[in-house]
C-alpha cells in the first residue's frame, strides 16, 4: 500500500515537473480550465439575470447542483480520469504494452501515468463555485453534511466508472478522443434538477446510468429535501461501478499489439 502511494506521488511529481518545462502555458491552461468550467453556471446566471428561471429552483440552488458536479469532476479529472487519454494515446502509439509488462496492476499504472496537472484548474473552479453556492443556501446540519459526503464519494465512484468505460473503449476504438464529447454530453443531464426531465429520462439517469448522483442527488441532501430514489441511485451507482470494472478487464483482454 505504502509502495503504491509512493509510486502515485512519484507519478504526480513527474507529470508536474514535465509540465513545468512550459510553466507559462501551464498556468495559463489552469486559468482557462477554471473559466471553461464556469460556462454552464454562466448560462444559468444569464438565464436568471434575464428574469427567467428553472421552475421551483432558485439561482443558488441550481448553482449548487452545478458546483457539486464540477467539484466531483475537478477531483476526477486530474487524479484518475487521465486514464482515458493515457490509454487512448498509448494504444494508438503502440506503447500500452509498456504498462502490461510492468510488475504492477495495469489499471494502477494507467492512473499513475495519467495524472493531468492542468485539470487542477477544474478543481479550483469547482471549489470556488461550491463555496459560493453553499454560502447562499440555508446552512446544512451535520447529518446533511455526512449524507452529502457519502453521496459525493459515490459520485466519484461513478466518474471512475465512466473513466474505465471510456478508457476501455479506447482500447478497441483506436485513437478516438471524441469519447470525451460523449461523456460531457451524456453527463450534462447531471448539472440540472432531474425533476425537469421526463419520467422516463429521470429513471434512466437515476437508476440505470446514475448521472443524477453526480450533482443533483447530493445537492438535494444539502438543501434538506432528499430526492426520491436516492437509495436506488446509490445501488445503481455501485452496480454501474462494478460493471465498468468488468468492462475494463474485458477490453484489456481484447488488446492486441505488435509490440510497440
Amino acid at each position: 500500500m505504502i509502495s503504491n502511494i509512493r509510486i502515485h506521488l512519484q507519478g504526480i511529481k513527474t507529470a508536474l515537473a514535465s509540465r513545468m518545462a512550459y510553466r507559462g502555458d501551464f498556468f495559463m491552461s489552469i486559468i482557462i480550465m477554471l473559466f471553461e468550467e464556469m460556462l454552464i453556471p454562466l448560462i444559468t446566471i444569464l438565464v436568471y439575470h434575464n428574469g427567467a428561471s428553472l421552475p421551483g429552483w432558485g439561482i443558488y440552488e441550481v448553482l449548487l447542483i452545478q458546483s457539486i458536479f464540477l467539484l466531483a469532476r475537478g477531483i476526477a479529472f486530474p487524479f484518475f480520469f487521465g486514464i482515458v487519454w493515457n490509454t487512448i494515446e498509448r494504444v494508438r502509439e503502440g506503447v500500452f504494452d509498456l504498462l502490461l509488462i510492468k510488475p504492477k496492476s495495469v489499471l494502477f499504472l494507467a492512473i499513475v501515468t495519467g495524472f493531468d496537472s492542468e485539470d487542477l484548474g477544474k478543481l479550483v473552479g469547482g471549489i470556488t463555485l461550491f463555496t459560493l453556492a453553499v454560502s447562499r443556501i440555508p446552512t446544512p446540519g451535520v447529518l446533511e453534511w455526512v449524507q452529502f459526503a457519502v453521496l459525493f464519494f459515490i459520485a466519484l465512484l461513478v466518474l471512475f466508472g465512466f473513466a474505465l468505460i471510456l478508457a476501455g473503449l479506447g482500447i478497441v476504438w483506436i485513437g478516438n478522443f471524441r469519447v470525451y464529447e460523449i461523456f460531457f454530453t451524456v453527463t450534462n443531464f447531471g448539472m440540472y434538477p432531474a425533476s425537469l426531465f421526463s419520467k422516463g429520462l429521470q429513471t434512466l439517469i437515476t437508476l440505470i446510468i446514475p448521472i443524477a448522483i453526480l450533482g443533483y442527488i447530493p445537492a438535494t441532501v444539502l438543501l434538506g429535501r432528499p430526492a426520491a430514489g436516492t437509495l436506488g441511485a446509490v445501488a445503481a451507482s455501485i452496480a454501474f461501478f462494478s460493471l465498468s470494472i468488468w468492462f475494463w478487464y474485458w477490453m484489456q483482454k481484447k488488446y492486441t499489439s505488435a509490440g510497440g
Binding site: 473559466f35 448560462i43 444569464l46 464529447e181 460523449i182
Partner: protein, 278 residues
C-alpha cells in the same frame, strides 16, 4: 503582374486545394466512425437543451424576445451550422510549427494557407454526409425543428462567409505559434472566448446590454450568431436591427478585415520561424 500570370497562379492554387481536399477526404474517411460520434452527441445535447428551455418557458412566453420555438430552432441551427464550419486550422498549424514539420512547407512551391484551406474543405465534405445530413434529418423529423432557411440564398452565403471567417480566425491563432513554443493554453482560452461571444452556447441577446454593444463590434458574432439569425430571417443585437443583406454585407467586411489581419500576422510571424532538419 499580367492577367495570364494571375490566372495561372489562381488555377495552380485551386489545383493544390483540390488535391489536398481529396487527400484529406480519403485520410479522414478511414476514421469516419470518429466523426459519426456527432450522431450521438448532437441529439443528446439538444435533448438536454429542450428539457431545460421547456421548463424555463413553462412560466413565460418569451426570453429576451425569443419564443420557445425560436430558442429551440436557435440550438438546432447552431448544431448543424457547427458541423458545416468546424475548423482545426489553429491546432494543425501550431503542431507543425512546434514539431518543426512546418519547415517542409517552406520548401514546397505552395502557400500553407491554401493547403490548410484544402484540408478544411476535404474534412467538411466528408462531414457533410457523415455528420450534417443525418443530424439535419434527425432534427427535422425526430425533434420537429424547422430547419428551413427563411432566405436560402442569403443563408448559404452567410454560412460560406462564416466558414471562411472561422478558418481565418483559427489560422491567426495558429500563427501565434511563431512567437510562443507551446500555445495550448492561450489557444484554448481564445477558443472559449470565441465560442461564448459567437453565440454558440446561448443567443447573444441573453447577455447584458453593455456587453451586447461591445459584441456588435467584435468579429465573433459573424461566426455563429449571424448565420443563425440569417437562417431565421431576422437580425437583432444590442437593440440594433439590420436587414439580412446589411448583416451579410457586414459579415463579408469582417472576412476582409480578418484576411488583412492574417496577412499582417503572417508577415511578422514567418520571420521568426526557425527549424532544423525535419
Amino acid at each position: 503582374m499580367n492577367f495570364a500570370i494571375l490566372r495561372n497562379r489562381i488555377g495552380y492554387t485551386f489545383e493544390v486545394m483540390k488535391a489536398t481536399a481529396f487527400a484529406t477526404y480519403k485520410e479522414w474517411a478511414a476514421y469516419r466512425s470518429h466523426m459519426a460520434v456527432s450522431l450521438l452527441v448532437s441529439p443528446i445535447f439538444f435533448l438536454t437543451q429542450m428539457f431545460i428551455w421547456r421548463a424555463i418557458y413553462s412560466t413565460r412566453t418569451t426570453v429576451t424576445g425569443l419564443t420557445l420555438e425560436q430558442m429551440l430552432t436557435y440550438y438546432g441551427i447552431t448544431a448543424i451550422i457547427n458541423h458545416l464550419i468546424y475548423d482545426s486550422a489553429d491546432w494543425n498549424l501550431q503542431m507543425l510549427i512546434r514539431t518543426g514539420k512546418f519547415l517542409t512547407f517552406m520548401l514546397r512551391p505552395i502557400s500553407h494557407i491554401s493547403f490548410a484551406m484544402g484540408q478544411k474543405i476535404g474534412h467538411r465534405i466528408l462531414a457533410l454526409w457523415v455528420e450534417f445530413i443525418p443530424v439535419y434529418l434527425l432534427f427535422l423529423f425526430v425533434f420537429k425543428i424547422k430547419l428551413i432557411p427563411a432566405q436560402p440564398a442569403w443563408s448559404i452565403l452567410s454560412i460560406i462567409l462564416s466558414f471562411v471567417l472561422l478558418f481565418l480566425i483559427n489560422y491567426c491563432i495558429g500563427i501565434i505559434g511563431f512567437w510562443l513554443t507551446k500555445t495550448e493554453g492561450i489557444g484554448r482560452g481564445f477558443l472559449v472566448v470565441r465560442d461564448i461571444f459567437a453565440g454558440s452556447f446561448v443567443p447573444l441577446t441573453l447577455f447584458p446590454e453593455f456587453l451586447q454593444k461591445i459584441l456588435f463590434f467584435l468579429p465573433f458574432q459573424f461566426i455563429t450568431y449571424v448565420p443563425i439569425r440569417v437562417f431565421i430571417g431576422s437580425y437583432d443585437l444590442a437593440g440594433i436591427k439590420l436587414s439580412i443583406p446589411e448583416v451579410v454585407g457586414l459579415q463579408a467586411i469582417a472576412v476582409i478585415v480578418m484576411f488583412v489581419v492574417y496577412k499582417l500576422l503572417w508577415n511578422l510571424g514567418i520571420k521568426r520561424f526557425t527549424g532544423v532538419g525535419a
